[in-house]
């Protein structure tokens, strides 16, 4: 190699590092249409310009030799597939948890708890307060003039999980008689509703999947009393993780007297919330906090979803470092084996640009393949995969992984970024190969 001053080498190294960083930053924020536009531009360039055409021919030769170095190329593909699979799985987990809780709330229902309580398990409302908050004019009423409000009591029971037989906590929600019109999404899928005033339970779909011995017909011992499961329900949100019963009977079983934990009300509309909040705040008889149920459930998911995302990105970043070096190794080797061919191309008049583009393009295509493989794998294995974790009432919340389009897109962007770094340096090396030395090489 022609002797170049170390300073210049350092300069070009820094320049290419900056270029790579800028490209990755762009990749990180770019919406899909911008990248699509970039791909189209690239296609036009290869079709319409002379240099572009040259680049495409060189790439074609490179791609044609892939079957001969299948082992080396699969390192790039599998390495990147691993990174994308782990990243997508963890992001899908965070997204699924968030979505489950977010769906549990809406903007036109509100939850009232004792001031400062933050979660239902911490909250106690006396009978009078529970009655007062339902009487506000912003609360929607039935045709008979009854406010659509449900005084609710959350208690905890310990049941064995199906997966490992260990006891875990399940939430038992005592609900008022109007809970059904408050949450129209709740559908009975087996058996029937619990009877008012009876020690009967209905089990959510998620709780039924996670816990043993809660199928309709089974009996449970709660605080020393025998309860019967008479039905199962599905709501498609966090309530699926709960067992429901009559709030008065739950209060009696757990000796809560006439108090409840919270009251959930249906407002006359989403715009009535501010007035409702003001009305409760100005009533001197009440010391309560009120939130829309959407805000309440969204707050609950924030911390854990963030934790899972941070973990996922950290783990994927460390794996990505490994994958980058794997790609570098493969592509440097590819450039080395093709050095004679590249030198020949340069000797007959090809410029450096087509060579750089071809190596980069080849790596990015391998990376894209890896990304698609990893994303597809996660989608097949984990989409709608159901797990449970500890929610803010210290009970199990069942949720399903959501391998959504934005999550898959993030995974693909990571794959392309890894391909970019892994391909850039070998590409530059290929362009700098001294022609004479390259031609002499075996």
């Amino acid at each position: 190699m022609a002797a170049r001053s170390p300073l210049r080498r350092l300069g070009s190294l820094i320049a290419s590092l900056i270029a790579a960083a800028a490209a990755i930053a762009l990749l990180a924020v770019a919406p899909w249409w911008l990248l699509l536009a970039a791909v189209l531009l690239l296609a036009l360039w290869t079709l319409l310009t002379r240099i572009g055409h040259q680049a495409w021919s060189v790439t074609e030769v490179g791609l044609a030799t892939i079957p001969q170095r299948l082992g080396a190329c699969s390192v790039v593909v599998v390495g990147i597939a691993g990174v994308v699979a782990v990243l997508v799985a963890l992001l899908a987990m965070a997204g699924g948890f968030e979505a489950t809780l977010k769906q549990s709330g809406s903007d036109d229902t509100a939850i009232v708890m004792r001031a400062g309580a933050q979660t239902e398990i911490n909250s106690v409302l006396d009978h009078d307060s529970a009655g007062l908050v339902a009487q506000a004019p912003q609360v929607l009423r039935t045709a008979q003039g009854q406010p659509i409000a449900s005084p609710e009591l959350v208690v905890v029971a310990s049941l064995p999980k199906k997966s490992n037989g260990l006891d875990a906590n399940v939430e038992i929600r005592g609900v008022g008689e109007r809970a059904w019109s408050l949450r129209p999404d709740v559908r009975i899928i087996a058996g029937r509703r619990f009877g008012p005033g009876l020690r009967e339970l209905i089990v959510g779909k998620g709780a039924r999947e996670q816990f043993a011995g809660v199928d309709p017909g089974a009996t449970l011992k709660l605080n020393g009393q025998i309860w019967t499961v008479v039905g199962a329900f599905e709501s498609g949100d966090a309530h699926d993780s709960e067992l429901w019963a009559d709030s008065d009977v739950v209060a009696a079983t757990y000796r809560r007297g006439s108090s409840t934990a919270s009251v959930t009300v249906r407002l006359t509309g989403a715009d009535a919330f501010d007035a409702y909040k003001a009305a409760l705040a100005s009533d001197p008889r009440l010391t309560v906090d009120v939130k829309t149920t959407r805000a309440y459930y969204t707050d609950q998911s924030a911390a854990l979803a963030k934790l899972i995302r941070v973990l996922g990105i950290t783990i994927a970043a460390i794996m990505a470092i490994g994958a980058v070096f794997g790609a570098l190794n493969t592509m440097y080797a590819a450039v080395a084996t093709r050095s004679r061919e590249i030198a020949t191309l340069r000797a007959i008049g090809f410029r450096a640009m087509p060579v750089i583009v071809s190596v980069l393009l080849e790596t990015m295509l391998l990376a894209l393949l890896g990304g698609l493989l990893g994303a597809a794998l996660t989608w097949v294995v984990f989409n709608h995969y159901t797990v449970s974790t500890l929610g803010s009432n210290f009970t199990q919340v069942v949720f399903a992984f959501q391998v959504s389009a934005p999550v898959l897109w993030t995974g693909l962007k990571w794959a392309l970024a890894i391909g970019l770094i892994g391909g850039l340096f070998p590409a530059l090396r290929a362009a700098r190969l001294p022609v004479t030395a390259g031609l002499r090489e075996l």
């Binding site: 691993g82 310990s158 490994g322 794997g326 009970t395």
Partner: protein, 387 residues
Amino acid sequence: MKYLQLILTAMFRRKTRTIFTLLSVLAAFLLFGLLDSVRSAFANAASSVAGVDRLVTVSRISFTLPLPKSLLPRIQALPGVAQVTYANWFGGVYQDPKNFFANEAVADNFLDLYPEWLLPPAERTAFRNTRTGAVVGKSLAEKYHWKLGDKIPLQATIYPQKSGGNAWAFDLVGIYRAADPKRRSQENALFFNWDYFDEARAFGNGNVGWYVLKVTDRNLAQQVAQAVDALSANSDHETKTQTEQAFNAAFVSQFGDIGLIVGAIMGAVFFTLILLTGNTMAQAVRERIPELAVLKTIGFSNQSVLALVLAESVLLILLGGSIGLVLAGVVVDAVRAAVGTGVPMTSVGVAIWLRGAGLMVLIGLIVGALPARRGMRLRIVDALAGR
């Protein structure tokens, strides 16, 4: 040992490639170290014997449910129980819900059961004699710049005052520190007097959150735990008595199956690693076929060539893996020092190193196997002729 130089020379024949491979191995074992540290924190929590002379009694159903204080004299009277104390989770918020730290109402002998926290005797007396007194850990005091004599306002989330408000205020009378500097995470808590708490709270009076008991003899722990739980069997407040570690483990296991998640991720990582280093080794051996033929020509046996190539791949992984584990140790210590409270990570100790080293040797042998066999089987004449 006399072949070490030979192996090293072969290994660094292509410096860039070897360094890149080492870095990949390093990343894989850095991740292994971190994840295994988390996994063993959860696994150890269930089986660790440290502190087994201290047991925790909580409600069988959920630790969020209270227990009657009337259990106290009955537990105290049990044979094998040296001391009993109790506490309540207060869950107060200092200024903003984001400023989370543990704050608990504790009985006046609570600190006696935790000799690993050092509190100057004068401050200990002051805590006992000040109704609204509180003690905090040194780390927490430094974080919020509290000094003795300060009033610390907390906003109640569970227990309002009898007067109806959520505002509680405590006088800081003592600052404790952890005897073991590695356990500074335990300095992130605030304790105040249970008697004051019980008098002032609006409801729940006479109930305690949990009991902590010290047994006279570690070997009796199991019997004592059973005897305590028998006291409340078939009542409406059945208890569960276990070691603090088992309690923590049961709590954490409700978050999810940590072992399974860690196992799945490590499976993906090592599968990729085997492929990657396997490819490197295959390349390295392919390039060196003539050299290996020369070795055979000058009298190296087939087995020696096999051993040389295997040793090279094992050494490669051991080198990268060890640096990765050292790095994981540094990161874990840094995280524990920085975040402190409740980071479920054990320091990268002998157990993790042993598991790591076992994996390194295993992976080294797997990735070296095929190239080594190729080296062993090559025929001198063909190899030298470049066929």
